[in-house]
Amino acid sequence: MLPSAGKILLLLSIIVTLFFFGRRAWFLIKLLKSGRSLDRFDHPGERWKYTLGQVFTQRCSLKTVAKGDYAGIGHLLLFYGFCLFLVRYIFHIAEAFNEALSPAIFGSIFNNLFFLCLDMAGLIIMGAIVWAAIRRYILKPERLDPSLDAGIILGVIFTLMCLHYATEGFRFLADPKPFAVWSFVGTFLSYVFREMGWQRKSQDLYLIFWWLHILLVFGFGIFILYSKHLHILGSHFNLYFRPLGSKGALQLIGDLEDTESFAIDRVNDFNWKQLLDLYACTECGRCTENCPASSSGKALRPMDIIHNLKLHLLASGRELLKSKERGGAGKGILPVVGKVVTGDEFWACTTCHACVEVCPVNIEHVSRMVDMRRQSVLVESDFPAEYKQIFKNLEIFGDPKGKGKLTREDWTANLKINKLYQPEEGRPVDVLFWVGCIGATYDDRSKNTVIAAAKVLEKAGVNFGILGKEEPCCGDPALRMGNEYLFQKIANNNIEMFRKYGIKKIVTPCPHCFSVLKKEYASLGANFEISTLVDFIGGLLKEGRLEIKSKINATFTYHDPCYLGRHNSLYDGPREILQSSLGVNIVEMGRRKEKSFCCGAGGGNMWRGMSAGKRIEGLRIAEAVKTDAQGIVTACPYCEVMFDCAIKQEGLGYSFKLLDIVELVKQATID
């Protein structure tokens, strides 16, 4: 429908656009390729299914919808509208070269419906944009940054809609078509324009607006690759290349001697998926919003880390691609650890995974923190002094506090418990009860939990044994704190010991031990069945091996430990035990299940002092107290230590109870 000169101009515009788009895209792809390699090309069928499912049902956005945060719905509307307009633009360009290539080639019914939907979509898009702008610039929620980037994107999309309708309006004024009535907004505008007296100029105006529109589309297309709108390309790939293994499992370093394989010196030492994460980030800020460290005033703000890495990657991109040798900064290339991301930031992470859980585009924040810690500990040996003692204690004494193994049996003082190194005659050991450093060595409160567990297991007739004086740390603190060397040493020793004793089944009260023994040990060749104490007890109750003598009539709130919940998806088991079996009345906190708020102990933080800001455990206890429950029940020794501290600090020791689930089970079945 364009004159030949116009067609040539259009072709040139397309070529120019493709050139700039392609050049930038190639730059971005080259940067990705310069990252470390990683195999995420397995299981294509599963990956396609997930990606298409998430994108086309917009589950990625809908999962973020929560009370007070309905932006996910707005995104859904924008996404579908955008898809429709994408189809329209393809026809738009095709039509310009050959009028027959319009939606009408699929029949007039299709054509009519298409334009009806299109015009409705346009209005919905404009509405959604206005809503987005009001939120971002007037209501200003904490997590959103009222940046120029976002403003341009919102403004351009709104303008594009206006230009689309104006173009249609002038088109129908200049050249009325029978289907125009379906394009109701365009038709309406054509009446308006006629009233304005633009009938005679309508053909020229149509052409002008047509060009304005298409050029803005092309320009925006290129702009996508230079702004945070890059996420519309990055996020799809990010969903596709997501980790398929166990949630929260860290990828262990294969060859510790090959420092090159894990050192993070410059930003493209991260693997390409971690670089893709940076492209996929939409800067929604939900990670920071849900991060316990951010909420308590620490330096760590996950979105800022992703954003700073992205800005640095793009800014130093050309230099990075030029210089092949690793190590030693070139012009503008900064060392990641210390300069782009500071130690204060990545050491504050508790590895709770709230950020990963809530991210709509599946960015993996936590493994990045651990990678930076590995660099800090293994390669540079530049980390806060107090952490050294934890590593030394683990290496020399076998537990993070350096209390040593000799006191690990003290809790068994008045109990007759089978020890694997000295099993009692006639008492077989079917399952190893792995106590964990907190239960075995920490304090009397923690010992009570383990004693209760032992009594319950005995009551149920479980043939269990403990390693006692031979039980070492599971290695979780070393792993999460980045001391991969120490972790692998500990883990390999433990796996040897399991083999020596022929251990096939393990039950443990500590979700951290559970997680690492189940996942990371498996990648080192371990082979055993393991369950958490909570699950195990649930099984015992179902099988009738434990009888409830008296129900517990109390109102408690339940805290989902991060390593039981988010890391291992165990939310309902504990609740079932509490409510159905024990008769406890649970009042839930606002932040529960996948949105549970960390106690602050993970990532090795249990063993070292948290510095800046408020105490994370204090924030959580404050939330728990607000439920008006009589106390808080949880299923993790780490959480209990933290909450014990917080409760005492608030002076609530006599009014707010703290209980492990197994203590309640003991109360109901034995006492």
């Binding site: 510790l256 001697e257 420092t259 500990v377 293994l378 390669v379 540079e380 040996s381 980390f383 002094a385 050294k388 590593f391 030394k392 020399i396 004494f397 040593g404 000799l406 006191t407 060397y485």
Partner: protein, 286 residues
């Protein structure tokens, strides 16, 4: 600058878990072995100096059996250049110091570092013994060190107790024993750890040191190890016949007993030693 650091792999004994509370015997199977923390500080100091002064070398040396190589390699991994083990197990510090000092002399040295004491034997003597055998000056318990390399001397500080410090200037070559407060030892990087695992330890046979059996003298022997007697705790109770005001005065004064003021002597080490011996003879201790 050749810097030699003497280290010891010490045995950490858990009390009371590893001790037979009836006899006082230590269960040797329950001892945890580690690099003496004071020696770790010494190694760190040596490496820091090596980083500041060009053409320097840090040599770690220990005397003991093959099991002590664990501590040796850890110390080496902190950043040393060589590690030496004298295959020598002795009865006491004096005879060990012979082996160490001969080996150090053979190696050559500008500075020798030792930990102030080993946390298992708590003798606090090794540094002094080695310095005496090498006939070099010794400053013990240093908490800070300033190098003046060109002038071949150092300025160190030591604790005198009650918050006082002493600044000592010492010519090199000299021996220094270190306090924990001197520095914060670095954690070995992974590449250095692997290098330490692979590096061959230089093992010296004591015979190669030319030590004759007559020279191998032990000056002490362990006769008995026993449990500490429980300390009696004195609890101060004010005299109830006094008025309230007087009782408070009594409590505030820190007790009814007055402390005798001691003499602080000054003089050269020889003069001071003479005074101390005279005092000990006077008090019929010697």
């Amino acid at each position: 600058m050749k810097i030699v650091v003497c280290i010891k792999q010490v045995g950490f004994v858990y009390y009371p878990a590893a001790v037979d509370l009836a006899t006082g015997e230590i269960d040797l199977g329950k001892i945890v072995f580690m690099l003496n923390p004071y020696d770790e500080v010494a190694v760190e100091e040596a490496i820091s100096i090596r980083e500041q002064v060009a053409n320097s070398e840090v040599v770690i040396i220990t005397a003991g059996g093959p099991e002590t190589e664990k501590a040796l390699r850890y110390a080496f991994a902190m950043g040393a250049d060589r590690m030496i083990r004298i295959n020598y197990v002795s009865a006491d510090s004096w005879s060990t110091s012979l082996a160490l000092s001969v080996a150090i002399e053979k190696n050559g040295y500008d500075m020798v570092f030792c930990g102030k004491k080993a946390i298992d034997s708590n003798g606090n003597q090794m540094g002094s013994f080695i310095a005496e055998r090498l006939q070099i000056p010794q400053v013990s318990g240093i908490v800070s060190m300033d190098l003046a390399v060109s002038e071949r001397k150092v300025i160190v500080e030591r604790y005198l107790g009650k918050g006082d410090r002493e600044e000592v200037e010492c010519d090199l070559p000299a021996l220094f024993t270190v306090e924990m407060a001197l520095n914060d030892p670095r954690y070995p990087t992974l590449p250095k750890r692997f290098a330490a695992e692979k590096k061959v330890v230089e093992i010296i046979d004591p015979k190669a040191l030319g030590i004759s059996p007559e020279q191998e003298v032990s000056l002490t022997e362990i006769r008995k190890i026993s449990l500490p007697r429980p300390k009696t705790r004195k609890v101060f109770t004010p005299d109830s016949s006094l008025s309230a005001a007087d009782r408070i005065k009594q409590m505030m004064s820190g007790g009814a007993k007055s402390r005798e003021a001691g003499d602080v002597l000054e003089g050269t080490p020889e003069e001071l030693a003479g005074h101390i011996v005279k005092f000990l003879v006077q008090e019929k201790v010697v």
